[in-house]
Symmetry: none
Subunit: 286 residues, 2 copies
């Protein structure tokens, strides 16, 4: 792990102008998305019932933390690359692209994502506590076990990367399983207006979370690792990985936060349940 | 003291890429944690009873100040080091890593930490005043006496460092003793819902505060001082010191602030006491 990290520092693969720009721009777009979602979620607290405000608060914190990290990730990307002489592409400057930002982000936000979901479901207190304990421990394990594999940057480390990825997948599938089962169980006790939304949340969770192992796998093919190690091979692995993670983060954090808002609104009393629809209930408290 | 400070300016020990990155990343993660905690604490004031809002306000200020200082500490760290030619590690640029940021932070935040704790306990006014006076004076002494030892960077100064450390420990233990005794005494007068949380706060205080003298000691072993003085010796002391302080600061400020929030919420009337639990009380005032 130590050698692969120091390798990383000087081994950013050459990129075409398009490859560099796609990654650079998706990072910028992610900053904008997360920042806007943060403002929306914080300001929308007053338009749901008080018991759903903690869920929106935590959702807002998740996208705020992600906004900070994508700003820093983009900065690190721009530090790691310089326009090649002649301008035909981008070459590594010798500075490492800091992969750890994304892991620092996940360490902070994934447990909070569990909290926002459990908070909006409003399960029984003892049930909520035991559920959160299990989910938070599993999330920490998932991230801690994925990181050693992520920083492997030499093709010989491919097997080790697969092993770390597999280990990390155990808590990953456990979390998805627990959330799926709990969301399904909770459907009976939720108001009709919220059920459809919770079904969507269940699906969004499953689809967006599926992106992470796929991006991890694409970024860690032997070809991608060879590119990372600085050969003249194609560098598309690193592009897929960064774009995949950025899109998944936008959906799983900003998109999921919006769903939490709609669920909270559907469950609030004295709030009309159609944002764009005609007023059919008493005026919203906002 | 002056000579050791000027020594420091040009004597950052060589670090491996991993050593440099671990410190750099833990600083970034601390910025994110403190910033998120600040937003949470400021926005949560509306969800506790008015008499507990000052406690949340002060807790929010503590993490805001810490967020600023860690941003600056990280900046100073990046200024003090540059990638070595060939990229195999990091070497000092000649710019000093500014240790004083952390002490400036402590001078401002440690007295405020005492204020947030006394504010959430809501002791009798005269009692609170006398308690705060003693705690704030002790905190100032503790920090002022620790600093001269912290900036010693030559192995010959080891004895002086130990003496300053020992002097600083007197008010340190006095504070811990007073807080432990007062927290224990206050338990009887606190509502049942808050007691468990105050017991946790007492424990968090003891454990996180214990990290500071340990980090001080690890950063000041003869080996660590030799490394600081710019020899070719192992530089892990400086890494332990920075990582130890960062983790302790996150727990003692952001973590402790969260506890203050939970205590305030448990003591608020008309607020349900479980974030994820079913509504059992009248709607929260928010």
């Amino acid at each position: 792990m130590l050698e692969s990290m120091s390798l990383l520092a000087s081994a950013m693969p050459d990129l075409s102008v398009l490859q560099y720009s796609v990654v650079d721009n998706i990072f910028s777009m992610t900053v904008a998305t997360m920042g806007a979602a943060a403002i929306f979620l914080f300001l929308s607290r007053s338009s749901v019932d008080p018991e759903y405000r903690p869920a929106l608060m935590v959702s807002g914190l998740v996208v705020t933390i992600a906004c900070y990290h994508y700003f820093m990730i983009r900065h690190s990307w721009q530090d790691a690359y310089a326009l090649a002489e002649g301008g035909g592409g981008f070459v590594g400057t010798g500075a490492a692209f800091n992969d750890f930002y994304r892991y620092a982000d996940w360490i902070l936000t994934v447990p909070l994502l569990m909290v926002e979901l459990v908070a909006v479901l409003r399960l029984q207190a003892s049930k909520a506590r035991s559920l959160l304990t299990r989910l938070v421990i599993a999330a920490a394990l998932m991230i801690a076990l994925g990181y050693p594999g992520e920083v492997i940057a030499n093709p010989e480390g491919w097997t080790a990367r697969v092993v770390w990825g597999a280990l990390s997948s155990v808590p990953f599938f456990y979390i998805l399983y627990v959330l799926w089962v709990e969301l399904t169980k909770s459907l009976e006790t939720q108001p009709v207006a919220a059920r459809k939304l919770i079904e969507i949340a269940r699906l969004v969770l499953l689809i967006t979370w599926a992106v992470y192992p796929i991006a991890y796998a694409l970024g860690g093919t032997v070809t991608a690792l060879e590119a990372k190690a600085g050969g003249s091979v194609d560098a598309s692995g690193i592009v897929y990985l960064q774009v995949g993670y950025a899109i998944a983060d936008m959906t799983a954090k900003a998109g999921f936060g919006m769903l939490i808002y709609f669920i909270a609104r559907a469950k609030s009393t004295g709030v009309e349940n159609n944002v764009g629809g005609e007023s059919t209930a008493s005026p919203a408290i906002a």
